[in-house]
Structure formats: C-alpha cells, structure tokens
Symmetry: D2
Subunit: 343 residues, 4 copies
C-alpha cells in the first residue's frame, strides 16, 4: 500500500483528494493536515465522511515527510513552494496542486504571480502533470506540478489542432465557464450564495493567470508564437468547467476528419472521451473524464471545440491521483473509476 498524506485537507481540492484516496485500492490515506483545524478529527470538519475515516488533522509543519510515499499539496499558490522547499529533498514523491511549479520558467511565474520564487531553478525542470500530453516526461519524477483546472480543459481541447498545425496559434480564444468550487472554500462576496445563485458573470478578463499556463503548454506543440485570449466566467453550479474554444483554420477539415483527428489523438486515453455532440457538465460530474466535441464551421473558417471536466476531479484531485498512479506504476485509472452522478 502507498502511504499518502494530503497537505491542506479542508479546502475543496483536499476534500476531493480524500474522497478518491479513501476508495483507492492501493493507497492508505495516512495523514491529513490543516492549519486552522489541527487537532480536530477530520469528520468534525467534513461530517459527510463520518464512519469512513478516523484521522485527526495535524499541522503541516508537524508532518514527517519521509513517513509517507507521496504528499499531495493542496495549498494556495505562493504558499505551496515553501513546503516544497522544505520537503523536496526528502525521500517522498510530491504532487503539488498549486500553480507554483507549472510554468516553464521562474521569471514568467514571478511576473504573473507577483512574488519571488523560492526555488527558481526547479521551475523549468518540474514536469507538468498532464498525462495525456506529457506522460513520458513524468515517469520517475519526484515532484510533479499538477495542472490548473482551466488549463486542463483548454489544453486537452486545443492540443490536437495545434499539434497538427491546423490553426493560427495567435487566433485562439477560450471562453471558459467554471462552477463555484473553482472560487475556493473561503467565505467571500464572490462565494456568497445570493451573489451566485440565479446569477452569472465574467471575471479576470485579460489577466487570469491560467492564460500564461495555457499558452506555455500549447506553445510546446507549435513552432509558432502562441497567444491565447482567455476569459473565465463563474457559473451557479458546484462543479465543472466548460471551455468553448475558437481558432481560425489554416487548413479545413470536415467534421468526420475532425472527429478522427481527436479520436486518434486520444485513442489510448482512459479519461478522454471524444464526442459527436456538445457535452454538458453533468456528463462528467464526479469523474476524471474530459469530454471533447470538436467541429469546423466552413461559414466562418473556424474550428470550435467544447470540452468539459469536473474541476475538482480531472481539474485537480483526480488528475493528481492519475499522476500518482503513473509515478507508482499502477494502472492509470486505479481508484478513478467513479461513475458520473447524474442527475
């Protein structure tokens, strides 16, 4: 059994990691941490788990990293790198779910995250944990940067077209919509029910940090400069991201060819389902799937791609466990066989 610790167990991502790991046949969930609730039984904070887990929350600093095989860091950006600094030389695999090691160099990070990086030399060498596109570089890693939720949905949607050189890489527009858990478990004006229910809004126009993460990754599949227009929106739903992606065609395909392009690209992927019609969020709720529908509009000369994920699963905790499965040479879908909860 793999001994796992979840560092930051009371946020949405940490909770979802617990939900998965408790059901994982090859994992023993051995520690959970929380700065605010250290000393409490986890089920006090997550009463839904009563009877399923008997751990007491500890402070992250009290964790002896080498007691575990893998640490999942479900911590805020800017905070997480300090724990990586503390533990990265220990004999433990670390999967960092923050944004601190996702970009290809530290200076870009510092520019978009407004903070000095404490491990700048590590940033370029840490693999980006998107198995569908990056599996080979992840093998044997001791530290993996788990992708952001929006980038996961966006990159999986656009990579086949970009890699095939079919689109103008400066024409990409990603209009993304996220469930409210993407805004975090903190109690803010943004998360107050009355501001979300029966409401909808755009935010972070032009400036969202996931923009650079998407550009960074898609840029690796093209020798052209890649510029992405990324606009996130907040949906009155708990979970899920739907990304509607647009790009101007350099070469036209008919829809059968588009379907084949995507089906071939993801033929061996257990978690990508290529669809022949636009998917909805609930189709993937509670699962690690990314469902993708791609089409070409010959009236406008554009490709349109719609992808959906569960932001807490394929967009965070599920993908992190998928990565763990790779690092430990398990079946990649081990512990990730949840069925969609629909309705």
């Amino acid at each position: 059994m793999i001994r796992a610790a979840v560092v930051g167990a009371t946020g949405f991502t940490g909770s979802e990691l617990i939900r998965i790991l408790l059901g994982h046949p090859d994992v023993e969930l051995a520690a959970v941490t929380s700065e605010n609730h250290a000393g409490k039984r986890l089920t006090i904070v997550h009463p839904a788990l009563e009877g399923m887990i008997d751990l007491v929350l500890t402070a992250a600093n009290d964790l002896n990293a080498s007691d575990y095989d893998v640490l999942f860091l479900a911590l805020p950006h800017r905070v997480s790198m300090h724990y990586v600094l503390r533990w990265h030389t220990e004999d433990v695999a670390i999967i960092d779910l923050s944004g601190d090691f996702r970009l290809s160099d530290a200076s870009t990070y510092e520019q978009w995250y407004n903070v000095e990086h404490v491990l700048p030399d590590l940033v370029p060498v840490v693999p980006y944990g998107l198995p569908e596109l990056n599996r080979s570089s992840m093998a044997g890693a001791r530290l993996v940067a788990n992708p952001g939720c929006y980038p996961t949905a966006s990159i999986l949607a656009m990579a086949p077209l970009v890699r095939a050189g079919l689109v103008d890489t400066r024409s990409i527009i990603i209009d993304a919509k996220s469930g409210l858990t993407g805004a975090g478990a903190g109690n803010t004006d943004t998360t107050h029910f009355a501001n979300v229910n029966d409401n909808f809004r755009a935010y972070g126009l032009k400036t969202h940090r996931h923009t650079v993460e998407i550009e960074d990754l898609l840029g690796q599949f093209s020798d052209k400069r890649t510029t992405v227009q990324f606009t996130p929106h907040l949906l009155p739903v708990d979970r899920g991201i739907l990304a509607t992606c647009y790009a101007t065609a350099l070469d036209a395909l008919d829809d059968a060819q588009v379907f084949k392009l995507y089906s071939d690209a993801y033929a061996d992927e257990p978690f990508v389902r290529v669809r022949n019609q636009a998917p909805s969020l609930k189709q993937v709720r509670g699962t690690n799937f990314c469902d993708i529908y791609a089409t070409f509009d010959d009236r406008t000369g554009r490709y349109i791609v719609v992808s959906v994920i569960d932001n807490l699963m394929k967009g965070a905790a599920g993908q992190a466990v998928q990565t763990m499965n790779i690092l430990f040479s398990l079946s990649e879908s081990s512990g990730l066989d949840q069925f969609p909860l629909q309705p």
Copy 2:
C-alpha cells in the same frame, strides 16, 4: 457473478440502478429495458455512461426472465404488478421498486391507488424490503417490495421511538422535503426548470400515498393505532429527502438518552448514521446512508427527529441493491461503498 436485469432503465431510478450495478463487484448487468427506446444503445439515452456499458435496450416483453438471477423492476405503480404477474413463477428473484406490493393488504392498496390489484393474494406475503427493520422476513424471499423514498426516511426516523413506546402514535407529523428527481423524469409543468428553480412548494397534502405506507410499517411496532400526518414538499435540488418528524412524548428522555436509543437501535447497521446535530442533504448525496438526528424538546414535550437520505439511493436503487445483497447472501454493503459527493 449474479446476472441482473434492470426493467425500466431510462427513468431516474433505473439509471441509478445502472450506476450502482456497473460498479458492483459481484454483479454482471446483463440486460436493460425501455419501452420508448428499445433498440437503441443505452449510451444514446444516457451519454454520461459512454465507455462504461455496451448494452442495447430491449422491450421488457422480450426479456426471458429465467436468463437472469435477479430482475429490478423500476416501473410505474400500477404497471409493475403486471410484470410481476408474468414473471413471479419463474426462477428469478424480483425486486419491485414500485408501490404495488408494499402495503399489508390488497384492499388498502386498491383504495389508495385506485386500481384493482392483479395479484391480491401476494400482497400480504411479500416482504417489505427495509433491511434495518425487516431483515429477517426478507431472507429467502423471491419477491421483495422495495420501500418508497419518503417512507424510508420517515420510518427509519421514527421507528426507535415508536418501538420503545415513547410517543403517542396518533401525534406523529412528518413534514418531508424532496429533491425534484422524486417527481420523475417525465416532462411536466411540475418538472419544468422555471417552476422549480428558486421556488418551493407543498403538494399532496392529506392524500399522498406514502402516508399509508408509513402508517402500515410504524403500526407494526406498536399495539396502538398509528395515524400519521404526512406533508411532502418539492425542493429545487436534484437529490435528497429531508424529513422533519414530530411526535408528542409519552415519556421524556434527555438528549443523551435519545442518542443512545438511536445508536443502540442502529448499532449494527452499515447505512444508518446517528448524528448529534441536524444533517444536511449533501452529507448523504450519492450514498446509501440515512443520517438521523433526534432530540427532545422539554418546553413542548415533543420529540423532533430529522433524517436525510438520497432519494435515488437509500430511497430507491441503493436500497434495492442492499436487498439483492441480502437475497444472495453477499456482504450487505457490497457495491454500496460510494462516498458522498460534496460539494
């Protein structure tokens, strides 16, 4: 492997049976039926299941019952008994999720359901499939009546108090609130989003059929006449029932004693969690749990009990699988180890 067929696979209850059975380690889901969609692949109707199941829907009449070990009938009231009539002499276990065999005698059924029963002699002998209260009478049965959703939440909430003789059995009031899936998958004014979203209403005052089902069962635990005031309401949520139950005390207990009464009553039950504060729907979403909180109000002399279930799980499909596990001598929680999807 137990070969199972789901008769009526496209409604909410049938879909939920599929979700459970596909993940059940001891079951092969071998057939699914639908009158409206016979001939289609199931994933056409349930695209969320793409890649997980490869069955084609057949008409119920084309089913050869003895090819299966167990049939789950997820059919409307009044319809289901005709299929029981057809199949009940075959070599197959039948779990009927309709209301057709739940009551203690056919004449009561005919009065509340306004239809002549086609198997009146069977009604009194078919066991009521609520394992927590009726496990012994279910053993060895070939036909079991799966309880209604409201009765499951209500009876589990009140049985310990009634059995202990602590309450006036004519004072019981059950104010119950259900998620919209309880209203069925049909497209009606009742299920139109604009009539449900940001809305709430009571319905079926004084006349809901689950009233007599609750009275019937609770009455078995008392030698006094049992009369229940039952009022259902429709919530703008997908899943879940919360029942707020009131009864006048004959004898007072303090809250520690109430907690002990319930904890003892359900000590060996894998799916009942006795709580020390009022539970919420999401605590049990997607699971077979019934969470119960009971308290005594010495100011008014009443017991108040709040229970929650997922109406599609413990209120329907989950309970049916629990019953199947009993009939086939499996571990009672086999295939029912889902974790709550929260948030």
Copy 3:
C-alpha cells in the same frame, strides 16, 4: 414628500428598503448609512442601482435624525436599540426592523437575546407592526417594531384559527423554510454557495428566537396558554418563506368553511390572498403579498395551513413601508404595488 433615511443600507433588508422607497410616489429617500462603507457612493456597493440613486453613504452617527420624517433601522439585533435610545426622543418616526422591541416585555427579550435591554420600559408599549392584526395600535405611534420574517408568515397563517378558538393552542407546530437571504449578507460557512446549492437543512431546532415572538402574538388571540413548536430550515433559493403549520382541531370545519373563515378574516387586506390550493414561493416573489391556504384533515383531526411570503418584502422591508404608510396616513399599498417576478 416624506423624507426618509435608511440606517443600515447595505444589508439585504436595507437594500430592499431602497428598492421600494426609490419607487414610492410619496417618499424622498434622503439618506443612507453604512458603518463599513461610509463615504462611498451607494452605487459602488449596489451597482445594480446605477443611474437610479445618487446618494453617498454616511455613518449612522453622523445622521441628524430630526432632518428626516422617518428612519428605517435595518440593523442587527442588540445594535438597533442603541440607535433607538439615541433618537427616540427626536421629532422623527422610527421603524425598527430588528428584534429589539418586538416582544411584550424586556425580561423575555433578555432571556432569548442574551443581552440587557437599554430601554426596558419602552418594550411593552412599542406596537408590533403587523397591520393585519394590529393596525389600530399602530396609529399615531412614533416607534414601531417591525415583525420578524418567520413570525409574519406564521402568525398570519394561524391567527384566524386561534382567534376563532378552533385549535388547541398547545398543539401548534410550524415547520418553516426560508430562502438564504434570511441568513444575512455576511460571508459565512452558512452562506457559502457550495454549502447551500443543491442542499437543504434544518437549523435552530427548539431554540430559534422567533418562537417566542410567534407565541407572544398568537397568545394575544386566545385566553389559553399558547406553545409553539417552531423549526426553521434553509432553502437553496434567494427569497421567500413557506410555513407549513399544523394544529389539532377543537372543532372541525369543512374546507369551504375554512376558506370562508380566512376570506372573512382578511377581506379588507390588500396584501393577504386566501388561496384554494397550496401556494409556491415564486407567486409572491418581489411583492408584499402573503398567500395562505388552509385546510382541515378529517382523517387526523388537524388543520394544516400553508403560507408564503417574500422574506425581504412582507417579511421585512415591504411590511416596514406598509407601516410607514399607516403612520403617515397614506394609502396602505402606496409604493407596494410590485408584481411578482415570475419566473
């Protein structure tokens, strides 16, 4: 024109007062206060009102009370009485929307609100501003206590039966469900979208302060001791309260007689609509209506009454303006002619 000030303009109740007063033909909204946002234009805090109001928020302490004809205090319990203390001797009418002056004596208040009252002698003489039942005592008042949201729905539902002596006044059970705005505009675990959406729960069992307010008022209509079991619940909707009320009959009426009893009781009331079927929240959304459906269950010997209000209108701001109309001898429905927003 009546010059009005809203003290506490940024909470839900204050905002709703502004919505009404801006459209009131006889009122000039002359001042709005906020401790947290003093100095900002109101439309910074309430961008929805852009172009409709040009006031700057001030601190309550900077208000010169006698510059206004009426002050609406939309402040928290325990805080409000201090402002009443400051202003009640000034030449201004005060409508207090908090709970500080609603009960019939200060000692009961102190027991349920856990604080010493600063104006104990005033408590018994301040009229309770429920016009339908208390209009005569409100005339000429300079300070009125605006009823709580749950009490408004509950008292209007039960008063005709209690006054007619038709029910056992110790048998009353009120199972009430409120929209989330009832929990306030503060950012807490209770108001976080992920804890409310697709969820439902009971709270405040046995102990909610509105219990005593309901008992106090209903008790005035009976010479018997009146004890109310009151259980509130939190709905995943913005606005609205639905109260399902139960009481054991001393005398039975048929439903036509019940309808007549209620129709007669509220014959001259512009804001009470007696219904012949159970109402839903959206029927009254955005309006000052209270819709009531009452019925007798001869199987159980109980009356069941279902009432709905918009908690921010008839349950708070609308009722306060109705009271202002009375105090200033305006038509009682002046400024309160909003149509239900449905859907």
Copy 4:
C-alpha cells in the same frame, strides 16, 4: 389610455408583457389570448397574478383587432406571420415578438427558418425594433419586428465598435449564455429541472438563427462584409443573457477611450448603462437595462465586450413596450421603471 391585447399570453414572453402592461400608467390591458387555455380566467394559468387582473383568455381568432390600439404578438416563429397576415391591414399597431419579420429580406428568412414566408414583400420594410440604433425608422410604423434576445445583447455590445470602424468585421465572435426561460415554457428534455440544475451546456453551434439576425444588423453599420461566430449556451438560471464578444482591433484604443466611445454612443439612452467593470445578470434582473463593459487587450490586439440583459425584458417584452411607447409618442421609459430584483 392605450388599449392593448397580448396574443399568446401564457408563454414566458406573454406573461412578462402582462406584468409590464398591468403597471403601465398609459395602457389598459384589454385582451389576452391562448389557444390552449381559451375560456379560462388568466389567473388560473398565472396564479401569481391573483387580484391584479380579471381577464378571461380568448382564442386569438376571436380577437377583433380593430378594438385595440396595439397588438403584441408573443407567438412562435412561423406561426406569427399568419396572424400578421390576418391583421396587418386593420387599424391597429402590431408589435411582433417572433423572428418572422426581423431579417432584411424574405429569402434569407426562408433559408434560416425553413418555411415559405406568407408576406415576403413586407419583410424588407418592417422596421427592426431596436430603438437605440433604429429609432428614426420606427417612428410612425404600424408593424415593428421586435429583436431577438441574443441579438439585442450582441448588437448593443458591438455596434459602437463596428460603427467606428475599429474592428475587423469578420473577426467577431459572440459567446452567449442564456437563462432557461430562453428555451420556452414547453415541457421538454431541455427544460426538465434535472437536466438544467447544476448543469451547463452549449447548443446550436454554427446554426443558431440569431446569427444571421446579428450579422444583418451589424452589417448595416459597416461597408465591410460582416460575419459573426455565434455560440449560445444554456445557464441554470431563470432569466438573463450575458454575451461575451470578441473582435480583432483595426485600431487600438485605451480603456478610457473605449469607455468614452460607449458612453457617447449611448449618452441619451435610458436603458443602456455603460460600465467600468464586467456586469452580472442580477444587476439587470427584472429591468429593461442593457449593461455593457468594453475593454481592449493590448496583449492580444482584441476588443472584448461583455453585455447583460434580462432576456424577458430588454430581450423581449420590455423592448416591445419601449417600442410601443415610441409608436404612441409616450416617454420611452413609461411603464419600464422597474428596479432590479437583487438578490
């Protein structure tokens, strides 16, 4: 008083017309029609309006058009033109809320709506009722085509940029999100609560009819060919459209200049509010406002414009009443002074 009839009074748009017209100071709502409910009192179908209106629904064919000053046709596409055919020579103003007379020529209509037009010669001459851009051509009209909901939000968002020649008119992408009332009052799989709640999806990619309506109108503001990529989505909210619009800049403006461009363009418009941050749906709920935020992204060289409307108000019924006000020389905001219902 203007005597008005609403033809098709039981759908969402018809209901909203009633809500507005009942409160309009210059209008007498004199007739309401419904094919399915003819003979019933309107309040049977719309119980929320109890006490506010006493009309009986009639069949449209029984309407004597010349008894009224204005007819609002809230009928389905393809059906509406037959009633226009019947009534357009009568002495009555007609405001048609369907798509039958919106396009600039009948052949385009026939191509996108798959039906032969019964009044092809009228199509090019009927004014498009978007007052902000088309007021002069509406004056004196006896028949006006009320714009579609998506086109209203989209055209108001993009017109200032297109008119100023600042954008490539073939680069326009409109990613629009609508509340569920946009899908109509019919009971379908699309409108079933369980398919909408906590869900989100795109639909009508490449083919939605509003595409050509938007191109038609925006094209009038440019001498260049205008091609629009339009993608609608369905939100789990009752009301509202948010359109996120993208276009490649021909000339760059800074944000202050963009704000001035829009402020100048809509300086005299009572219902357009130019914003300095992205608006949300609830800001305009229940009102006739269109709120617009426009910005330039110098990193990508694109303009991004976000607009919101209430699809039943500015997107349908409110705009129709605004047009009526123009046709009858009333103040343009008469009867349209609703305040946003927030929350």
